[in-house]
Protein backbone atom coordinates (compact mmCIF):
# COMPACT_ATOMS: atom_id res chain seq x y z
CA UNK A 1 0.00 0.00 0.00
CA UNK A 2 1.34 3.37 -1.02
CA UNK A 3 1.66 6.18 1.50
CA UNK A 4 -0.55 8.23 -0.81
CA UNK A 5 -3.37 5.72 -0.43
CA UNK A 6 -3.01 5.73 3.33
CA UNK A 7 -3.60 9.48 3.21
CA UNK A 8 -6.92 8.79 1.50
CA UNK A 9 -8.25 5.83 3.36
CA UNK A 10 -10.46 6.04 6.43
CA UNK A 11 -12.01 3.54 8.78
CA UNK A 12 -14.86 1.71 7.05
CA UNK A 13 -16.88 1.14 10.22
CA UNK A 14 -20.15 3.05 10.11
CA UNK A 15 -19.88 4.43 13.62
CA UNK A 16 -16.50 5.98 12.79
CA UNK A 17 -17.78 8.06 9.88
CA UNK A 18 -18.51 11.03 12.13
CA UNK A 19 -15.40 10.74 14.26
CA UNK A 20 -12.30 12.82 13.54
CA UNK A 21 -10.14 10.14 15.15
CA UNK A 22 -10.88 7.67 12.37
CA UNK A 23 -8.50 9.46 10.03
CA UNK A 24 -5.65 8.88 9.46
CA UNK A 25 -5.42 5.19 10.20
CA UNK A 26 -2.29 4.35 12.15
CA UNK A 27 0.35 1.97 10.93
CA UNK A 28 1.65 -0.74 13.23
CA UNK A 29 4.43 -3.27 12.66
CA UNK A 30 4.84 -1.95 9.14
CA UNK A 31 7.35 -3.45 6.74
CA UNK A 32 8.38 -1.04 4.04
CA UNK A 33 9.64 -1.52 0.54
CA UNK A 34 10.84 0.95 -2.07
CA UNK A 35 9.49 0.33 -5.52
CA UNK A 36 10.36 2.48 -8.46
CA UNK A 37 7.44 4.31 -10.07
CA UNK A 38 7.76 6.61 -13.08
CA UNK A 39 8.10 10.19 -11.90
CA UNK A 40 5.29 12.44 -13.06
CA UNK A 41 5.53 16.06 -11.89
CA UNK A 42 2.08 16.94 -13.20
CA UNK A 43 0.44 14.24 -11.10
CA UNK A 44 2.16 15.35 -7.89
CA UNK A 45 1.20 18.99 -8.48
CA UNK A 46 -2.37 17.92 -9.20
CA UNK A 47 -2.64 15.71 -6.15
CA UNK A 48 -1.01 18.09 -3.67
CA UNK A 49 -4.07 20.26 -2.88
CA UNK A 50 -5.99 17.15 -1.89
CA UNK A 51 -3.38 15.78 0.49
CA UNK A 52 -4.15 16.14 4.17
CA UNK A 53 -0.72 17.36 5.23
CA UNK A 54 -1.12 16.96 8.99
CA UNK A 55 -2.23 13.38 8.51
CA UNK A 56 0.69 12.76 6.19
CA UNK A 57 3.12 14.00 8.85
CA UNK A 58 1.56 11.63 11.41
CA UNK A 59 1.71 8.67 9.01
CA UNK A 60 5.25 9.45 7.91
CA UNK A 61 6.42 9.76 11.51
CA UNK A 62 4.93 6.34 12.31
CA UNK A 63 6.94 4.89 9.47
CA UNK A 64 10.12 6.65 10.50
CA UNK A 65 10.21 9.59 8.12
CA UNK A 66 10.58 12.72 10.20
CA UNK A 67 12.16 15.04 7.65
CA UNK A 68 8.88 16.43 6.27
CA UNK A 69 8.35 20.20 6.45
CA UNK A 70 5.71 21.22 9.01
CA UNK A 71 3.80 23.17 6.40
CA UNK A 72 2.53 21.86 3.10
CA UNK A 73 4.70 23.22 0.27
CA UNK A 74 2.37 25.59 -1.56
CA UNK A 75 3.18 26.46 -5.15
CA UNK A 76 2.52 30.10 -6.08
CA UNK A 77 2.36 31.93 -9.39
CA UNK A 78 5.89 33.29 -9.09
CA UNK A 79 7.48 30.29 -7.43
CA UNK A 80 6.28 26.89 -8.63
CA UNK A 81 7.60 23.95 -6.68
CA UNK A 82 11.11 22.91 -7.44
CA UNK A 83 11.87 19.60 -9.09
CA UNK A 84 13.62 18.32 -5.96
CA UNK A 85 10.60 18.98 -3.72
CA UNK A 86 8.34 17.14 -6.13
CA UNK A 87 10.78 14.25 -6.45
CA UNK A 88 10.97 13.92 -2.67
CA UNK A 89 7.18 13.88 -2.46
CA UNK A 90 7.01 11.35 -5.28
CA UNK A 91 9.46 9.13 -3.47
CA UNK A 92 7.49 9.27 -0.23
CA UNK A 93 3.96 9.13 -1.62
CA UNK A 94 4.26 6.69 -4.50
CA UNK A 95 7.49 4.75 -4.18
CA UNK A 96 7.36 3.94 -0.50
CA UNK A 97 4.99 1.06 0.02
CA UNK A 98 3.88 -0.90 3.05
CA UNK A 99 3.92 -4.62 2.32
CA UNK A 100 3.09 -6.13 5.70
CA UNK A 101 1.61 -4.72 8.87
CA UNK A 102 -1.57 -3.36 10.34
CA UNK A 103 -3.70 -0.28 10.01
CA UNK A 104 -5.48 0.65 13.21
CA UNK A 105 -8.42 3.01 13.53
CA UNK A 106 -7.85 5.67 16.20
CA UNK A 107 -11.52 5.67 17.14
CA UNK A 108 -12.79 2.08 17.25
CA UNK A 109 -9.37 0.36 17.34
CA UNK A 110 -10.43 -1.90 14.49
CA UNK A 111 -7.40 -3.55 12.92
CA UNK A 112 -7.05 -3.82 9.17
CA UNK A 113 -4.35 -6.29 8.26
CA UNK A 114 -2.02 -5.61 5.37
CA UNK A 115 -0.66 -8.69 3.69
CA UNK A 116 1.55 -8.56 0.58
CA UNK A 117 0.60 -4.90 0.21
CA UNK A 118 -3.14 -5.59 0.18
CA UNK A 119 -5.18 -4.23 3.06
CA UNK A 120 -8.19 -6.22 4.12
CA UNK A 121 -11.17 -3.88 4.49
CA UNK A 122 -13.86 -6.52 4.65
CA UNK A 123 -16.07 -5.94 7.67
CA UNK A 124 -18.48 -8.19 9.52
CA UNK A 125 -22.04 -7.16 8.69
CA UNK A 126 -22.87 -5.67 12.09
CA UNK A 127 -20.20 -2.97 11.69
CA UNK A 128 -21.31 -1.76 8.27
Amino acid sequence: MKILTSNYITCAVKACKSSTLSFPLHFQDAELVQEEVDFNAEFIVGILPRIEWDALIVTAAELGFTNLPAQKPEPTEEAPLGEQVLKDLHKLLLETQVTEGKLVCGNCQHIYNIHQGIANFLLPNHLV
Binding site: L4, A12, N125
Partner: protein, 279 residues
Protein backbone atom coordinates in the same frame (compact mmCIF):
# COMPACT_ATOMS: atom_id res chain seq x y z
CA UNK B 1 -25.12 -17.79 -21.02
CA UNK B 2 -25.64 -18.35 -17.34
CA UNK B 3 -25.09 -15.48 -14.99
CA UNK B 4 -22.42 -16.04 -12.32
CA UNK B 5 -24.25 -13.61 -9.98
CA UNK B 6 -27.07 -16.12 -9.74
CA UNK B 7 -24.88 -18.98 -8.63
CA UNK B 8 -22.66 -17.78 -5.78
CA UNK B 9 -21.54 -14.61 -3.97
CA UNK B 10 -18.58 -12.93 -5.72
CA UNK B 11 -15.99 -13.79 -3.07
CA UNK B 12 -16.85 -17.47 -3.37
CA UNK B 13 -17.49 -17.58 -7.11
CA UNK B 14 -14.14 -16.09 -8.05
CA UNK B 15 -12.04 -18.76 -6.40
CA UNK B 16 -8.56 -19.67 -7.59
CA UNK B 17 -9.70 -21.65 -10.62
CA UNK B 18 -12.40 -19.21 -11.76
CA UNK B 19 -10.08 -16.22 -11.28
CA UNK B 20 -7.39 -17.94 -13.28
CA UNK B 21 -9.84 -18.84 -16.05
CA UNK B 22 -11.15 -15.28 -16.11
CA UNK B 23 -7.75 -13.67 -16.33
CA UNK B 24 -6.26 -15.98 -18.93
CA UNK B 25 -9.24 -16.12 -21.28
CA UNK B 26 -8.27 -14.15 -24.36
CA UNK B 27 -11.92 -13.44 -25.11
CA UNK B 28 -12.58 -11.87 -21.72
CA UNK B 29 -9.28 -10.00 -21.94
CA UNK B 30 -10.17 -8.39 -25.24
CA UNK B 31 -13.71 -7.49 -24.14
CA UNK B 32 -12.43 -6.04 -20.88
CA UNK B 33 -9.76 -4.00 -22.56
CA UNK B 34 -12.11 -2.55 -25.17
CA UNK B 35 -14.58 -1.63 -22.44
CA UNK B 36 -11.85 -0.02 -20.37
CA UNK B 37 -10.75 2.01 -23.37
CA UNK B 38 -14.32 3.12 -23.91
CA UNK B 39 -14.66 4.06 -20.25
CA UNK B 40 -11.43 6.04 -20.37
CA UNK B 41 -12.68 7.81 -23.46
CA UNK B 42 -15.88 8.72 -21.58
CA UNK B 43 -13.92 9.94 -18.56
CA UNK B 44 -11.91 12.24 -20.85
CA UNK B 45 -9.19 12.84 -18.27
CA UNK B 46 -6.82 15.53 -19.45
CA UNK B 47 -4.05 15.14 -16.89
CA UNK B 48 -2.59 12.20 -14.96
CA UNK B 49 -5.19 11.52 -12.29
CA UNK B 50 -5.99 9.50 -9.23
CA UNK B 51 -8.52 6.88 -10.27
CA UNK B 52 -10.52 4.39 -8.22
CA UNK B 53 -11.14 1.02 -9.87
CA UNK B 54 -14.14 -0.70 -8.31
CA UNK B 55 -14.11 -4.44 -8.78
CA UNK B 56 -10.59 -4.29 -10.18
CA UNK B 57 -10.25 -8.07 -10.19
CA UNK B 58 -6.89 -9.17 -11.49
CA UNK B 59 -6.09 -5.70 -12.78
CA UNK B 60 -7.10 -6.16 -16.42
CA UNK B 61 -8.63 -2.68 -16.51
CA UNK B 62 -5.89 -1.26 -14.31
CA UNK B 63 -3.29 -2.02 -16.95
CA UNK B 64 -4.91 0.50 -19.25
CA UNK B 65 -5.11 3.07 -16.48
CA UNK B 66 -1.39 2.66 -15.79
CA UNK B 67 -0.46 2.88 -19.44
CA UNK B 68 -2.42 6.13 -19.72
CA UNK B 69 -0.29 7.52 -16.90
CA UNK B 70 -2.88 7.43 -14.13
CA UNK B 71 -2.32 6.25 -10.60
CA UNK B 72 -5.06 3.94 -9.45
CA UNK B 73 -6.39 2.23 -6.38
CA UNK B 74 -8.37 -0.93 -6.94
CA UNK B 75 -10.83 -2.63 -4.66
CA UNK B 76 -12.20 -6.12 -5.05
CA UNK B 77 -13.93 -8.64 -2.85
CA UNK B 78 -12.24 -11.73 -4.26
CA UNK B 79 -8.94 -12.60 -2.62
CA UNK B 80 -8.09 -15.02 -5.43
CA UNK B 81 -8.50 -12.30 -8.04
CA UNK B 82 -6.25 -9.98 -6.05
CA UNK B 83 -3.67 -12.75 -5.69
CA UNK B 84 -3.54 -13.01 -9.47
CA UNK B 85 -3.25 -9.23 -9.68
CA UNK B 86 -0.21 -9.53 -7.39
CA UNK B 87 1.31 -12.21 -9.61
CA UNK B 88 0.74 -10.05 -12.65
CA UNK B 89 2.61 -7.24 -10.92
CA UNK B 90 0.02 -4.51 -11.40
CA UNK B 91 0.95 -0.93 -10.61
CA UNK B 92 -2.15 0.01 -8.64
CA UNK B 93 -2.73 -0.22 -4.93
CA UNK B 94 -5.06 -3.06 -4.07
CA UNK B 95 -7.67 -3.31 -1.34
CA UNK B 96 -9.69 -6.33 -0.32
CA UNK B 97 -13.04 -4.66 0.22
CA UNK B 98 -16.72 -5.11 -0.51
CA UNK B 99 -18.19 -2.25 -2.50
CA UNK B 100 -21.58 -2.97 -0.95
CA UNK B 101 -20.09 -2.03 2.42
CA UNK B 102 -19.26 1.45 1.18
CA UNK B 103 -16.16 3.10 -0.21
CA UNK B 104 -13.77 3.75 2.68
CA UNK B 105 -12.08 6.93 1.52
CA UNK B 106 -11.85 10.48 2.76
CA UNK B 107 -14.27 12.84 0.92
CA UNK B 108 -13.13 14.46 -2.30
CA UNK B 109 -10.07 12.32 -2.93
CA UNK B 110 -10.45 10.76 -6.36
CA UNK B 111 -10.48 12.48 -9.73
CA UNK B 112 -12.42 9.68 -11.32
CA UNK B 113 -13.74 6.20 -10.79
CA UNK B 114 -14.07 3.30 -13.15
CA UNK B 115 -15.73 -0.06 -12.84
CA UNK B 116 -15.88 -2.79 -15.45
CA UNK B 117 -18.47 -5.56 -15.14
CA UNK B 118 -18.91 -5.42 -11.39
CA UNK B 119 -21.99 -3.43 -10.45
CA UNK B 120 -24.49 -6.17 -11.23
CA UNK B 121 -23.11 -8.12 -8.26
CA UNK B 122 -24.58 -5.45 -5.99
CA UNK B 123 -28.11 -6.42 -6.96
CA UNK B 124 -27.81 -9.65 -5.00
CA UNK B 125 -28.07 -9.82 -1.25
CA UNK B 126 -26.21 -12.92 -0.21
CA UNK B 127 -27.30 -13.07 3.39
CA UNK B 128 -30.46 -12.14 5.23
CA UNK B 129 -28.65 -9.37 7.14
CA UNK B 130 -28.18 -7.19 4.08
CA UNK B 131 -30.47 -5.96 1.33
CA UNK B 132 -29.62 -5.18 -2.26
CA UNK B 133 -30.99 -1.64 -2.00
CA UNK B 134 -29.01 -1.04 1.18
CA UNK B 135 -25.81 -2.24 -0.47
CA UNK B 136 -26.46 -0.13 -3.56
CA UNK B 137 -27.12 3.02 -1.58
CA UNK B 138 -24.07 2.50 0.64
CA UNK B 139 -21.94 2.03 -2.42
CA UNK B 140 -23.20 5.08 -4.31
CA UNK B 141 -23.16 7.29 -1.20
CA UNK B 142 -19.57 6.29 -0.54
CA UNK B 143 -18.58 6.77 -4.16
CA UNK B 144 -20.26 10.16 -4.31
CA UNK B 145 -18.38 11.49 -1.33
CA UNK B 146 -15.02 10.02 -2.28
CA UNK B 147 -15.02 11.70 -5.68
CA UNK B 148 -13.93 15.32 -5.92
CA UNK B 149 -16.35 17.96 -7.16
CA UNK B 150 -16.42 17.83 -10.92
CA UNK B 151 -15.21 14.24 -10.76
CA UNK B 152 -16.65 11.60 -13.00
CA UNK B 153 -17.33 7.90 -12.77
CA UNK B 154 -17.90 5.50 -15.62
CA UNK B 155 -19.33 2.18 -14.53
CA UNK B 156 -19.93 -0.57 -17.04
CA UNK B 157 -22.33 -3.25 -15.90
CA UNK B 158 -24.51 -6.10 -17.11
CA UNK B 159 -28.00 -5.74 -15.68
CA UNK B 160 -29.98 -8.96 -15.70
CA UNK B 161 -33.18 -7.17 -16.63
CA UNK B 162 -34.82 -3.76 -16.65
CA UNK B 163 -35.56 -4.00 -12.94
CA UNK B 164 -31.85 -4.21 -12.10
CA UNK B 165 -31.06 -1.47 -14.57
CA UNK B 166 -33.55 0.90 -12.96
CA UNK B 167 -32.49 -0.18 -9.48
CA UNK B 168 -28.86 0.73 -10.14
CA UNK B 169 -29.48 4.00 -11.95
CA UNK B 170 -32.05 5.23 -9.45
CA UNK B 171 -29.70 4.42 -6.56
CA UNK B 172 -27.03 6.53 -8.28
CA UNK B 173 -29.38 9.45 -8.80
CA UNK B 174 -30.56 9.19 -5.21
CA UNK B 175 -26.97 9.53 -4.00
CA UNK B 176 -26.78 12.87 -5.78
CA UNK B 177 -25.01 11.99 -9.01
CA UNK B 178 -25.87 13.46 -12.36
CA UNK B 179 -26.44 10.20 -14.19
CA UNK B 180 -26.72 9.06 -17.77
CA UNK B 181 -26.62 5.72 -19.52
CA UNK B 182 -24.65 5.03 -22.63
CA UNK B 183 -25.51 1.92 -24.56
CA UNK B 184 -23.03 0.54 -27.07
CA UNK B 185 -24.28 -1.83 -29.78
CA UNK B 186 -27.90 -1.64 -28.59
CA UNK B 187 -30.31 -4.38 -29.62
CA UNK B 188 -27.49 -6.85 -30.14
CA UNK B 189 -26.12 -9.69 -28.08
CA UNK B 190 -23.00 -7.65 -27.40
CA UNK B 191 -24.71 -4.61 -25.99
CA UNK B 192 -22.72 -2.82 -23.33
CA UNK B 193 -24.19 -0.48 -20.81
CA UNK B 194 -22.14 2.34 -19.29
CA UNK B 195 -23.44 4.36 -16.40
CA UNK B 196 -21.81 7.79 -16.59
CA UNK B 197 -21.95 9.70 -13.31
CA UNK B 198 -20.88 13.23 -12.56
CA UNK B 199 -20.45 14.95 -9.21
CA UNK B 200 -21.57 18.53 -8.74
CA UNK B 201 -20.20 21.07 -11.21
CA UNK B 202 -22.95 22.92 -13.04
CA UNK B 203 -22.96 23.26 -16.77
CA UNK B 204 -19.75 24.80 -18.05
CA UNK B 205 -18.23 25.23 -14.61
CA UNK B 206 -14.48 25.30 -14.81
CA UNK B 207 -12.89 22.60 -12.69
CA UNK B 208 -9.15 22.19 -12.64
CA UNK B 209 -8.66 24.07 -15.90
CA UNK B 210 -11.03 21.91 -17.90
CA UNK B 211 -14.65 22.63 -18.59
CA UNK B 212 -16.54 19.88 -16.85
CA UNK B 213 -19.62 18.63 -18.62
CA UNK B 214 -22.77 18.49 -16.58
CA UNK B 215 -23.95 15.07 -17.57
CA UNK B 216 -23.63 12.29 -20.06
CA UNK B 217 -25.09 14.29 -22.94
CA UNK B 218 -22.21 16.74 -22.62
CA UNK B 219 -19.76 13.89 -22.27
CA UNK B 220 -20.75 12.23 -25.51
CA UNK B 221 -21.20 15.47 -27.41
CA UNK B 222 -18.90 15.33 -30.39
CA UNK B 223 -18.38 11.58 -30.18
CA UNK B 224 -19.05 9.72 -33.36
CA UNK B 225 -21.93 7.33 -33.74
CA UNK B 226 -23.72 8.27 -30.53
CA UNK B 227 -27.44 9.05 -30.56
CA UNK B 228 -28.70 11.02 -27.62
CA UNK B 229 -32.09 9.87 -26.38
CA UNK B 230 -33.07 12.35 -23.73
CA UNK B 231 -35.76 10.93 -21.49
CA UNK B 232 -35.93 14.03 -19.35
CA UNK B 233 -37.65 16.33 -21.82
CA UNK B 234 -40.73 14.23 -22.48
CA UNK B 235 -43.09 16.77 -20.98
CA UNK B 236 -44.64 16.88 -17.57
CA UNK B 237 -46.83 13.84 -18.05
CA UNK B 238 -44.09 11.47 -19.07
CA UNK B 239 -44.13 7.76 -18.44
CA UNK B 240 -45.64 6.71 -15.15
CA UNK B 241 -46.61 10.19 -14.07
CA UNK B 242 -49.84 10.49 -16.07
CA UNK B 243 -52.43 12.40 -14.12
CA UNK B 244 -55.78 10.69 -13.77
CA UNK B 245 -58.43 12.61 -15.66
CA UNK B 246 -55.97 14.39 -17.96
CA UNK B 247 -56.40 14.39 -21.71
CA UNK B 248 -53.75 11.75 -22.31
CA UNK B 249 -55.31 9.56 -19.62
CA UNK B 250 -58.76 9.83 -21.19
CA UNK B 251 -57.39 9.06 -24.65
CA UNK B 252 -55.54 6.04 -23.32
CA UNK B 253 -58.62 4.73 -21.53
CA UNK B 254 -60.75 5.20 -24.63
CA UNK B 255 -58.18 3.33 -26.69
CA UNK B 256 -58.20 0.53 -24.13
CA UNK B 257 -62.00 0.34 -24.39
CA UNK B 258 -61.85 0.24 -28.15
CA UNK B 259 -59.34 -2.58 -28.05
CA UNK B 260 -61.69 -4.53 -25.83
CA UNK B 261 -64.45 -4.04 -28.38
CA UNK B 262 -66.58 -1.71 -26.28
CA UNK B 263 -68.66 1.05 -27.83
CA UNK B 264 -66.54 4.17 -27.29
CA UNK B 265 -67.33 7.67 -28.57
CA UNK B 266 -64.86 8.95 -31.17
CA UNK B 267 -62.13 11.45 -30.26
CA UNK B 268 -62.60 15.07 -31.15
CA UNK B 269 -60.96 18.36 -30.32
CA UNK B 270 -63.30 18.61 -27.31
CA UNK B 271 -62.14 15.30 -25.83
CA UNK B 272 -60.67 15.83 -22.39
CA UNK B 273 -61.09 19.60 -22.63
CA UNK B 274 -61.43 21.53 -19.41
CA UNK B 275 -64.87 22.86 -18.61
CA UNK B 276 -64.41 26.50 -17.85
CA UNK B 277 -66.80 28.02 -15.31
CA UNK B 278 -69.91 29.35 -17.05
CA UNK B 279 -69.81 33.09 -17.30
Amino acid sequence: MSRPEDTLPPDLFYNDTESYKYTTSSRIKSIQSSMTQRALQLLALTSPSMVLDIGCGSGLSGEHLSSSGHIWVGMDISASMLAIALDRDTDGDLLLADMGQGVPFRPGTFDAAISISALQWLCNADSSEVSATGRLSRFFDGLYSSLKRGGKAVLQFYPKNDVQRTMITSAAVKAGFGAGLLEDDPETKNKKLYLVLTVGAGRGEVVGGAVAGRDVTDVVKGMEGVDVIDERRKGKNGKGKEIKGSKSWILRKKEQGRNKGRAVKGDSKYTGRKRRPVF
